[in-house]
């Protein structure tokens, strides 16, 4: 049975993401200390709220995560967790991101309400993505955020609210979703099981 490790760094509650991941049939454990990341091969960084909260992912966490990635672990960042994968965010300019992906998150803009709350559609972008296997073009997923990541070569799906932004990213063994797959009905659960399948490959 696949085993998923969810990092609890104090940003929001984890009940939903834990429950969503459990539907894939994997066992889900939660870790609160970098030392406990030891054997993790499939890692999820969830998170809701303010980018400043990611400051809790300190050097010890960064080293532990980098070490796991070097050993072939798979990493999925959800919402705030995806923002953290980038260089940083205008939401908390002094807090550095992990820098696993290039770019900086910026506030949503345009003639629209912010935060962007609700169901919006996905458009495939760039390379076909394992994470989106079996997901029809234009499928709807649930978003709730005020900041968003830029569209780069690592973007595999975009959505749009005022302007287009990166909805789903992939680079090697690192994945990210701006939306909440655990709150996106059957579409979201499929994306989670795609992640678990992708994570178990190539190891």
């Amino acid at each position: 049975m696949a085993s998923i490790t969810v990092i609890d760094y104090g940003a929001g509650n984890l009940a939903s993401v834990q429950k969503g991941l459990a539907t894939t049939g994997a066992s889900v454990s939660i870790v609160r200390r970098a030392d406990d990341l030891d054997d993790a091969n499939t890692i999820v960084i969830p998170g809701v709220g303010h980018f400043g909260a990611t400051a809790a992912l300190d050097d010890a966490w960064r080293r532990a995560i980098a070490q796991r990635l070097d050993r072939g672990a798979a990493l999925l960042g959800i919402c705030l967790g995806m923002h953290w994968l980038f260089n940083g965010s205008d939401e908390a300019p002094d807090v550095p991101g992990a820098g696993l992906l290039t770019g900086r998150c910026t506030r949503l803009s345009g003639q629209v309400k912010v935060p962007h709350v609700g169901w919006n559609t996905l458009s495939a972008s760039g390379q076909p993505a394992q994470l989106l296997e079996g997901i029809a073009p234009g499928a709807s997923v649930y978003f709730t955020h005020s900041f968003a990541a830029p569209i780069t070569a690592d973007t595999v799906a975009t959505s749009s609210h005022g302007a287009p932004f990166a909805a789903c990213v992939a680079r090697g063994r690192v994945w990210g979703t701006q939306f909440h797959p655990e709150k996106s009905g059957t579409v979201g659960l499929r994306i989670l099981s795609n992640f678990v399948a992708a994570a178990s490959e190539g190891r």
Partner: protein
């Protein structure tokens, strides 16, 4: 484009759905978790569980109800009704809710909104505002009879009520929505007391007044009856979401048909699930 949301509200007392299910599906409709799962499968965009328990035992039952509902639904789940403190909110969020809705407690102590937003993020904090039309007919008239700096003095266009609509508050719904947003609320759940349960349509003027005053999404509630009512509240009312209870419990035409009507009227909705 972000879809306009349809939200089903389940009024729960002592672990049972108690409203609007008298005429059919008695066995299934009484169980909040089963109803939440059915609506989710039928394409509802979110679920709100509103606890109307009057007793301490009922409050305790709420948490197991939330756990059961959360176990079966993978769409956003909001829990409200009688939440008084950060601890109350933490209990329902730990039980699997994604958002909490606070009403009377936030009126009593608006800093609760800020405290909740700081711990859980604004996206988890809904301010529920129950409003009733007051003595003045139009906001323009209100401005005339108010002196500057006295915006929260009567008379009101849309007066705020607390404690399930029983206690009038010295506040106007638009001003309160603005303040709640500034204090950290991530959405407004706006109920028209005048329209609640009437099936005569949403109060689109109330909804538009609040929606225009804040940046955060506004969920309109109270008065849903026909597809036209929903079309109106998304158009004239500029609502981001619409909440209803009995219209879904009794629906002759299901959620899919309602969404199809909305789409045909040019309202963006989620039709794949």
């Amino acid at each position: 484009m972000v879809a306009r949301r349809l939200i089903a509200c389940l009024d729960v007392r002592d672990g049972r759905v108690v409203k609007g299910v008298k005429f059919r599906d008695l066995r299934e409709a009484g169980d909040p978790a089963a109803l939440a799962a059915r609506y989710s499968a039928d394409g509802i965009d979110e679920i709100v569980l509103l606890d109307i328990s009057a007793t301490v035992e009922g409050r305790a039952t709420l948490l197991s109800t939330v756990r059961a509902a959360a176990a079966k639904t993978f769409i956003p789940l909001t829990v409200g009704g009688g939440l008084r403190s950060l601890d109350d909110a933490r209990a329902v969020l730990d039980a699997g809710a994604d958002k909490v809705s606070v009403n009377s407690a936030a009126l009593r102590d608006p800093s609760l909104l800020t405290a909740l937003a700081r711990v859980y993020g604004s996206q988890a904090v809904i301010v529920a505002i129950d409003a009733k039309r007051g003595a003045v007919d139009r906001r323009a008239d209100l401005q005339v009879c108010l002196e500057p700096g006295l915006k929260t003095r009567p008379p009101y266009v849309f007066q705020v009520y607390s404690r399930s609509g029983t206690t009038a508050e010295p506040r106007d719904a638009v001003e309160w929505a603005r303040e709640a947003e500034a204090r950290g609320a991530g959405e407004v759940l706006l109920t028209s007391i005048d329209r609640d349960g009437t099936h005569s349509g949403f109060d689109c003027e109330l909804t538009a007044a609040v929606s225009d005053a804040v940046q955060i999404p506004v969920i309109a509630s109270g008065g849903a009856g026909t597809p036209e009512h929903f079309i109106d509240v998304f158009g004239l009312g500029r609502a981001d979401a619409a909440l209803a209870a009995s219209v879904f419990h009794f629906a002759e035409h299901g959620i899919h048909d309602l969404k199809t009507s909305l789409r045909d009227a040019g309202v963006p909705v989620r039709l794949d699930w």
